[in-house]
C-alpha cells in the first residue's frame, strides 16, 4: 500500500496550519529518524497531549484521528509502520484559539500511531495508540 498526500484529508481546527511534506523526502526515513529530526534529539516526555484514535480501524484507508495539545506550537503525527511514517505536522500560530486538530489517515496495517507535540517552552511530549487494522471478523 502506498501512502499519498491525497489520502490525508486535512480538516484542521482553529488556526492550525497543516503541512504535508513531499513523500519522496522521507521515503527512506524511519519513524525514529523523523522523530529525532523534529525534536533535535531532545528528551520527549508524556502528558499534556491527547491523541484520539480508534482501537480498531473501521476502514484502514481512512482512520479518523484527533490531537489536542494546549500550549503546543506544533504537533507531528507518525504512522510508525507506514511506508512513509510522517503523516502530517500541525503548526499553531500565536492567534490559534485552541491547539487541536483532526484528520483522517491511511494505515498500511496494525501499528502504533504516535503524536509528538512541541510546546511553547521548547519541550516535547508524545502520546501513542495502537490501531488495529483487521481483515474483517466474525463478531457475533
Amino acid at each position: 500500500m502506498q501512502f499519498t498526500r491525497r489520502d490525508a484529508l486535512i480538516m484542521s481546527l482553529g488556526a492550525a496550519a497543516a503541512s504535508v511534506l513531499p513523500v519522496q523526502a522521507f521515503a527512506a526515513a524511519s519513524a525514529e529518524e523523523i522523530l529525532a529530526e523534529f525534536t533535535g534529539g531532545a528528551a520527549v516526555g508524556e502528558g499534556g497531549l491527547t491523541l484520539t484514535a480508534p482501537e480498531i480501524a473501521e476502514n484502514g484507508n481512512t482512520v479518523p484521528i484527533a490531537v489536542d495539545a494546549p500550549g503546543a506550537v506544533s504537533v507531528m503525527i507518525l504512522a510508525t509502520k507506514n511506508p512513509s511514517p510522517l503523516v502530517v505536522t500541525f503548526n499553531f500560530g500565536p492567534m490559534a484559539g485552541s491547539q487541536s486538530a483532526s484528520t483522517r489517515i491511511r494505515l498500511a496495517g496494525t501499528q502504533d500511531v504516535v503524536a509528538v507535540a512541541k510546546m511553547s517552552d521548547g519541550s516535547f511530549v508524545q502520546a501513542s495508540q495502537a490501531v488495529k487494522v483487521t481483515i474483517g471478523g466474525c463478531g457475533g
Binding site: E55, A130, G139, G140
Partner: protein, 564 residues
C-alpha cells in the same frame, strides 16, 4: 443482594446423584416437580427503583434448548475471572449443586440429560409473565433491552425484524441498544426507529462518518420512584468490522471511552441520580470501561451472552450479565437516596418454560406472528444423533455439522464457519426442523462462498480472528468466538501475540501440514464482503441433512489449545 444460600432453595437433592451421566435418575426429575413459578419469581421488593434487563434474545420467541460454553477462556486481567469460568469451576464459584436447575441453566455438563428433565428455556410469552409479575410489585419498573433482538430466527428474517419489534413493544420495553439490528440495513433500521418502535433506540457511540456527529440518541432520562435516572445506550463497538459495513455505510461506532465519560458528565449535570449503561460492548470491554470511566452506577452488559447469578462490582459500578436467547431476565431493585445509589438487590431469573406459565396475550401475539410461516417452520428435514450446540471458544457441533455440509456440498478441502455466539441447541434423537436450521443460520448475508486461498492467507485469517478473541486488551476484542474450521486442524497458543498464535495447521484428509504457498479450496459463509456469491447457507445445510437423513457429529479434536 440475594445470598447464594437462598438461591434456589428448591433445588433438587441432586448431590446424591453426582457421577450419574447419560440418563440418570435425576434427569427424570422434571423441573415442574422441583420448582414452582413462585420459586422463580420470589423477590422481596426493596428500595425505590426496579430495573428489568433482557438482552441478546436473537429473535427467539419460543422456548429453546441452549447449552452454555465448555471453553470460555479469558486473557490478560480477565484470565480465570467471571465470566470466563465454566462447568465445575462455575458451580464452585456460585455455590451451585451439580444437577440442580441452575447447573442446567448456567453450565454445559450433562446438558442433554438435564435438558430432558428440565426442558426448554426462555420464550417471550414466559418473559412477559415475569415482566408482568415484576410490574405487579413495582408498576414503574424500567424494562430495558440490550439488543441483538431483531435477528436470529426464520420469522425475524422473513419479516425484517417486524415480529420482534411487535413483541418488544407489547412487552413494554422502554429503551434498547443494538448490534445485529444493523444487519437489516440502515434504511430498515431507521424505518423501525422512526415509525415502529414505541421506545428510544440508544447508542452514544454511533456517529455519522461524514460529520462525526451523533447519529442516534445517546441517552434517555426517566423518573421512577422519585429518582431521576439516565439510561445511556452503547451499541456494539465493532459493527462495521465484524458485520458488513456496506449495509450501513455512513455510520461509525467504536468504544469511544472519552465520549462515554462526557455523556456520563452530561447526564449527571442534568440531575441524574442514577446512571445506567445499557451496553452491547461485551463483558470484558464493559469491565474495562467501568474501571476507566467513573460515575456509572450500573452496566447492563450484553453481546458476549454471559449469564452471571451475581453482579460484579468494578470501581463502584455493578456489572449485570443476563445471558441470551430469552433464557434469563435480570431483576435489579435499587435504593437510590440523597442523590446516590445506597443498595442493590439482584436476581438472575431463569426462564424455565415448563415452570413459568406463558402470558396469554403475548402467547397469542407470538402465535399470530408465526402463523403465516407455520408450515415452513415445522417441516422436518432430518434427525440428529448428536447434541448440536454452538457456544465455545473453538468449536461446537452445530458448526462442525455446517463445516461438514460445506465440504461435502461445495466440494471443498477446508470449511470456515464464523464464531457466532447465537444459535439454539438440539438434543440427541431430536428431529431437525427448518426452524432449527434457521435458528443457527438466519441472517442477511448468508451466501456460502467457494474460493481458493493460499495456506498463507488461511493463516492470516486465523491469526486475525484469534486476536479478536485473545488480545489481552479488551478494547481490541470483538466478542465473537474463534472461526470454526472444518477439514483442517491447528494448534493455538492464546498467550502469544498476533501472528504467532497459530501453528501446525494440518489438512486433515491427508495429515500433511498446510503449505503457505499452496492453494486450497475453501468454502465458508457470512463473509462481510458485499460481492460474495453462493447459495444461502441454510440451503446447503438443508440439502446435507436431507441427504443423510440422520446426522451425527464426531467429537472434534482437531484444535490443540495451549497457553491458557
Amino acid at each position: 443482594m440475594i445470598s447464594r444460600r437462598h438461591f434456589f432453595q428448591a433445588s433438587m437433592a441432586a448431590s446424591a446423584l453426582i457421577g450419574a451421566s447419560g440418563y440418570g435418575n435425576w434427569a427424570k426429575l422434571s423441573a415442574q416437580q422441583a420448582l414452582t413459578q413462585n420459586d422463580l419469581l420470589d423477590f422481596e421488593t426493596t428500595g425505590n427503583v426496579t430495573l428489568v434487563h433482557i438482552t441478546d434474545v436473537h429473535a427467539q420467541l419460543k422456548p429453546v434448548y441452549f447449552r452454555e460454553p465448555e471453553i470460555n477462556l479469558g486473557v490478560g486481567g480477565a484470565k480465570g475471572q467471571p465470566p470466563h469460568v465454566t462447568g465445575a469451576d462455575y458451580r464452585a464459584l456460585y455455590g451451585i449443586t451439580q444437577g440442580a436447575p441452575l447447573d442446567y441453566a448456567l453450565t454445559y455438563q450433562d446438558f442433554a440429560a438435564l435438558a430432558k428433565g428440565y426442558g426448554r428455556m426462555g420464550g417471550m410469552d414466559r418473559v412477559a409473565t415475569v415482566v408482568k409479575s415484576i410490574r405487579a410489585d413495582r408498576p414503574d419498573a424500567l424494562v430495558l433491552d440490550g439488543g441483538d433482538t431483531w435477528q436470529g430466527s426464520y420469522t425475524a428474517l422473513k419479516t425484517d425484524g417486524q415480529d420482534m419489534v411487535n413483541v418488544m413493544n407489547a412487552l413494554g420495553v422502554e429503551a434498547m441498544t443494538s448490534h445485529w439490528e444493523f444487519s437489516l440495513g440502515i434504511d430498515r433500521v431507521n424505518e423501525i426507529v422512526e415509525n415502529e418502535l414505541n421506545f428510544p433506540f440508544l447508542g452514544a457511540n454511533i456517529f455519522d462518518t461524514e460529520w462525526d456527529e451523533p447519529a442516534y440518541d445517546p441517552y434517555s432520562m426517566f423518573e421512577r420512584g422519585g429518582v431521576k435516572i439516565a439510561v445511556i445506550g452503547q451499541a456494539f463497538p465493532y459493527m462495521p468490522i465484524a458485520n458488513p459495513g456496506w449495509m450501513f455505510p455512513d455510520l461509525s461506532f467504536g468504544v469511544r471511552q472519552d465520549r462515554m465519560a462526557q455523556v456520563v458528565a452530561e447526564v449527571r449535570a442534568k440531575g441524574a441520580e442514577l446512571v445506567v449503561l445499557l451496553s452491547h460492548n461485551g463483558f470484558d470491554v464493559d469491565r474495562k470501561l467501568a474501571a476507566n470511566v467513573d460515575g456509572i452506577d450500573i452496566i447492563l452488559t450484553g453481546h458476549t451472552h454471559d449469564a452471571l447469578p451475581e453482579p460484579l462490582l468494578v470501581n463502584g459500578t455493578y456489572l449485570i450479565a443476563s445471558g441470551s436467547h430469552s433464557k434469563f431476565v435480570s431483576r435489579i431493585d435499587l435504593d437510590v437516596r440523597d442523590g446516590g445509589l445506597k443498595s442493590l438487590k439482584h436476581k438472575l431469573i431463569p426462564i424455565f418454560s415448563d415452570v413459568i406459565a406463558p402470558d396469554p396475550e403475548m402467547a397469542a401475539l407470538i402465535d399470530a406472528e408465526r402463523a403465516p410461516y407455520a408450515a415452513d417452520l415445522s417441516e422436518v428435514i432430518g434427525k440428529t444423533d448428536s447434541l448440536l450446540y454452538r457456544r465455545g471458544n473453538f468449536n461446537g457441533t452445530w458448526d462442525d455439522l455446517i463445516c461438514n455440509a460445506l465440504i461435502e456440498e461445495r466440494e471443498a478441502d477446508i470449511a470456515l464457519s464464523p464464531g457466532f455466539r447465537w444459535g439454539a441447541s438440539i438434543l440427541p434423537g431430536q428431529a431437525i426442523t427448518r426452524e432449527d436450521i434457521f435458528n443457527a443460520t438466519a441472517m442477511t448475508y448468508p451466501a456460502a462462498y467457494r474460493s481458493e486461498m493460499t495456506g498463507e492467507r488461511l493463516h492470516l485469517i486465523l491469526e486475525d480472528v484469534a486476536d479478536n478473541l485473545f488480545n489481552p486488551d479488551p478494547y481490541y476484542q470483538q466478542g465473537g468466538d474463534m472461526v470454526r474450521v472444518g477439514g483442517m486442524g491447528y494448534r493455538i497458543d492464546i498467550s502469544k501475540p498476533q501472528g504467532s498464535r497459530i501453528t501446525e495447521m494440518t489438512l486433515l484428509k491427508t495429515g500433511e501440514l498446510i503449505d503457505p504457498t499452496k492453494t486450497y479450496v475453501v468454502a465458508g459463509w457470512a463473509s462481510v464482503n458485499e460481492d460474495t456469491e453462493g447459495p444461502p447457507i441454510w440451503d446447503v445445510l438443508e440439502n446435507h441433512i436431507r441427504r443423510h437423513g440422520t446426522v451425527s457429529v464426531d467429537p472434534n479434536s482437531s484444535v490443540k489449545v495451549v497457553g491458557t
